[in-house]
């Protein structure tokens, strides 16, 4: 394991220190160097008259979530240890900091740890008189029998939820309306991912799972956890189909539908390969009569240096399209 870091125990802190220095005008990182619970807010604090948006989760998925703090997206982000949910004592002050009196929407990815820690944190924030609504993102179609599991995981579709709910908050929607928009995105977004090679958690020092040279892991999450099944290594065209097929089937998109297509890199895959997958997926959707009206290609919800990608499809209507297009000014998304 070779990584650009000094000490695994300090890696999240050191990374956030750099993040704070690089984006000083945009964000503020609280609690660095053991000063207290760690969370990230906009540089200016909560925006008067606006519903606040908070998300969080384990670190190792950068730029998610801290990279999405700023105008038109999140007001605060809460990074845990690598692949470990943050704790309530971090989340609660982040929620409080995001509150400008119109309440706060907590965007939680569906993992037992995230759900439990946010649950407690929300209770504590409510006890401090902050009005909080929670949405749980669960876009990962790799989890098939969700009644027999902890439910579908929240993965790359989280970016769409945060961006679009952020735009709804920015245009002045109240808490119920922002939560409703977020739920609408959640209802219309699905993702499936593949790993070509696993990642290595710094303090573990060896790959999260073992994968032979000629195998790939289909249906992975974003925490270096193994996927649903393994198949032999295949050309991009085939892998794209393996990922896109269940996404399209589950979402039920077809001729006449308009979608956003998002090809997300897991951290160790070059952009050029993501575009290969994007091209294949775009063509497959076009063949089915689906219009790809918006696109996103890049490393947005990563698993450290994992080699792999996920395909996300969001069914669009006029409202979602407009909210997606609305201005955003964060470290990682900017238009």
């Amino acid at each position: 394991m070779k990584k650009l870091l000094d000490n695994p125990d300090q890696a999240v802190d050191d990374s956030l220190t750099g993040f704070a220095a690089a984006h000083a005008g945009l964000v503020e990182v609280h609690g660095l160097h053991g000063a207290g619970p760690v969370y990230v807010t906009r540089a200016g604090g909560a925006v008067a008259g606006k519903v606040g948006l908070v998300s969080g989760g384990g670190s190792g998925h950068e730029p998610l979530h801290a990279g999405f703090v700023g105008d038109g997206m999140l007001d605060a982000a809460v990074p845990g240890a690598v692949f470990t949910s943050p704790t309530p004592d971090q989340i609660t002050p982040a929620i409080q900091a995001a509150d400008a009196g119109r309440g706060v929407l907590a965007i939680v990815k569906n993992y037992t740890g995230d759900v439990l820690n946010f649950e407690t944190a929300v209770e504590l924030a409510e006890a401090e008189d902050v009005q909080v609504a929670t949405v749980v993102v669960n876009d990962d179609v790799a989890v098939e029998d969700s009644t027999w599991t902890a439910g579908r995981r929240g993965v790359a579709g989280t970016v769409m939820v945060e961006k679009i709910a952020g735009a709804a908050a920015a245009r002045g929607d109240d808490l119920a309306a922002v939560a409703a928009v977020a739920q609408k995105v959640i209802a219309n977004v699905r993702t499936m991912g593949v790993a070509l090679a696993a990642c290595t958690v710094p303090h573990v020092g060896k790959p999260s799972f073992d994968l032979a040279d000629d195998e790939i892991e289909i249906g992975i999450g974003i925490h270096g956890e193994p996927g649903r099944h393994r198949v032999p290594m295949a050309p991009a065209a085939q892998i794209t189909e393996l990922l896109l097929e269940p996404v399209v089937a589950d979402l039920g998109v077809g001729a006449g539908d308009t979608v956003l297509l998002f090809v997300n890199g897991m951290g160790g895959t070059p952009l050029s390969e993501l575009y290969v997958v994007y091209g294949r997926a775009h063509a497959l959707l076009a063949q089915r009569g689906v219009t790809v009206a918006r696109s996103l290609v890049g490393n947005y919800v990563t698993s450290l240096e994992m080699q792999g990608a996920s395909i996300t499809v969001l069914r669009l209507d006029d409202e979602l399209e407009q909210l997606w297009d609305a201005p955003v000014r964060t470290a990682a998304l900017h238009w």
Binding site: G58, A81, G113, A150, V201, V204, K206, H223, E225, H229
Partner: protein, 211 residues
């Protein structure tokens, strides 16, 4: 022989040491069917617990519950992940029923049952879902069945049952927690949270001073 706050403090010191020893093993279990952090999470949490207890001098009239509450809030704010709130809630509920200086056998049984209830209240898992409940439930049951014994015997019965319960998770297919995403592939591996529960309860026995 009853158990007091000093026992609870010794328990935590020994638990921290045992979990530090088991850190890599627990993380390896979690690497097989989860996200390779369980040992790291608990080691971070229990080191913080020991630091917190050392920084908090024991008043003469310290109750067991007071110690366990400190443990609960510290775990809650340092472990993270799924196990943080679960262990945190377990200790919080246990603290509520142990707000006294000395625990007799029925109180020890109550402690374990409250802990179990805390975990199921939060995590909604039942026995057989390949979680720490598969260690806590038999532990609480065995403790209740040993109600004629000393506090040490009650705890020892619980620890043995937790150990057996953890081992029994190996063939199970997980339906709760992160391992559930693996489906059938989760079978054949021990649940890390059940194993850490067994370690925790073994140290509870070891911390009892021989009469």
């Amino acid at each position: 022989m009853t158990l007091d706050a000093a026992w609870a403090r010794r328990w935590m010191t020994q638990a921290a040491a045992a979990l530090a020893d088991a850190k890599d093993d627990l993380t390896e279990l979690d690497r097989q069917i989860g996200d390779a952090d369980h040992g790291v999470n608990l080691d971070r949490g229990f080191r913080a617990v020991v630091a917190k207890l050392e920084a908090t001098p024991a008043p003469d009239d310290e109750t067991v519950g007071a110690v366990l509450k400190l443990v609960a809030t510290t775990l809650m704010s340092t472990v993270g992940g799924a196990s943080g709130p679960l262990y945190g809630t377990a200790f919080l509920r246990a603290a509520r029923v142990t707000d006294r200086a000395h625990l007799d056998p029925p109180a020890v049984i109550a402690l374990l049952e409250a802990a179990l209830e805390g975990i199921t209240a939060r995590g909604h898992a039942t026995v057989g879902e390949k979680t720490m409940v598969d260690a806590w439930q038999p532990a609480a049951d065995a403790a209740a069945a040993a109600d004629e014994g000393t506090t040490r015997e009650v705890l020892a019965a619980a620890a043995r049952a937790a150990d057996a319960g953890a081992t029994a998770t190996i063939p199970l297919v997980a339906t709760k927690g992160r391992a559930s995403y693996l489906g059938e592939r989760s079978a054949g591996h021990e649940d890390p949270g059940a194993r850490s529960t067994a370690i925790l309860l073994a140290t509870a026995v070891a911390a009892v001073e021989e009469p």
